[in-house]
Symmetry: C2
Subunit: 226 residues, 2 copies
Amino acid sequence: MDGVEIEERELLSDRIRNALTDAIASGSLAAGTALDEQDIADRFGASRTPVREALRQLAYNGLVEVRPRKGAVVTRMTPERIAEMFETTAEVEAMCTRLATYRMTPLERSQLMALHESSAALVEAGDYDAYDAFNLAFHEGLYRATHNGFLAEQALGIRMRLSAFRRTQLRHGPRIHRSHAEHGDILAAMAEGDGEAAARRMRAHMLNAANSLSGYIADHLGIHSL
Amino acid sequence: MDGVEIEERELLSDRIRNALTDAIASGSLAAGTALDEQDIADRFGASRTPVREALRQLAYNGLVEVRPRKGAVVTRMTPERIAEMFETTAEVEAMCTRLATYRMTPLERSQLMALHESSAALVEAGDYDAYDAFNLAFHEGLYRATHNGFLAEQALGIRMRLSAFRRTQLRHGPRIHRSHAEHGDILAAMAEGDGEAAARRMRAHMLNAANSLSGYIADHLGIHSL
DNA sequence: CAGCGCATTTATGAATGCAAGATATTGACA
DNA sequence: TGTCAATATCTTGCATTCATAAATGCGCTG
């Protein structure tokens, strides 16, 4: 979240936590998967202690669920819960967009626009993974442009929790093209200094993305609930 | 009647985490305080293991900071950081207010209004602690009225992190009266179904509260940054 | 054959032990 | 006397061990 590495002496429990976070966010650890402590410990060549610490941290953050004496499982989201999360991201991102419009420096604005323009090639090439990475960079740039580090952290945290679901979204139909176009519309409003319009467009953008996913999510949850 | 719970289903580490959270939020553990694992363990009659788990969870959530091999301290906030957090709460609460305006049920609305009216007595009596409790209930009611559980959790989490600072705020001058009046104005806009106006008023309300605190915060941080 | 109860097994929660790093102390030397 | 360095102590990070709750399997009985 906040770039505080540089630590060559990284904590084992942190490494495990980060790895698990990635695995869950990337979907390689599907929702509902039971997380055996010894198993994970073996996989990392560690003992159970740092694994337990990592799991607790994730639990407190909502990525996994730990029922006392019954072990940890990757949080299985209900469709309602996911919808709530998407709505929340949409609102938070809209908020960031509004604030960023009024506060970003000319340099930040031009960087964001450059980023957007460079992504056009990815859209044409249909390079979903690269576009996904760009997408994150774009939104992160927006967070930073609010000049509110705490808000940026919150926004990023929520986005990360949803990334497991967002990941698959762009692959569906022409969503990637619409996504790119919507980014352009948002930037246009920001360039005009109309924070409210930019915010509305961002909200719509996020909800569009969520919508294009809803069908997939239903299937996804169904599959994993066997 | 209850006394010592024989059926203590709760996890020891969770009890410790909650206790520490309360202690930090209430201010009885001041920012910058070093948290010695053995010391806390002794205080709870436990070993270091559950204490460590609790500290890690708090660290990942920002309440304490653990520098590897150097122990945990209660996060020392910079004035900038606090200002950012207040701005974020203000925006988030405004968002909740807007959503709640459009979504709350008549029952929820009347409950919120009843709560508000009952608080008038506390204002007159100058019962700050009771008003503080009411204040939390009021805002929590608002969160719930968004009918978005995830958003409510996020909003509550941010509010809790700031509670250590908010706590002292009402005691300063006539703030408690203004707070009550502002609540009334917000509810009035909500009753009219004007979510945008209600949101603007809520944002102003939160920023007013933050403002009345800024002087205190500067002193507070100054003292602790020796 | 089905359902229930008990024993065994497994995995989690917590305690203890030990090694490495950080801090404090003390002593030597300029 | 001040500064630096070596050592001693303390604290943390992780491993190991112990205890106990939950899960599993098996046999018994109706």
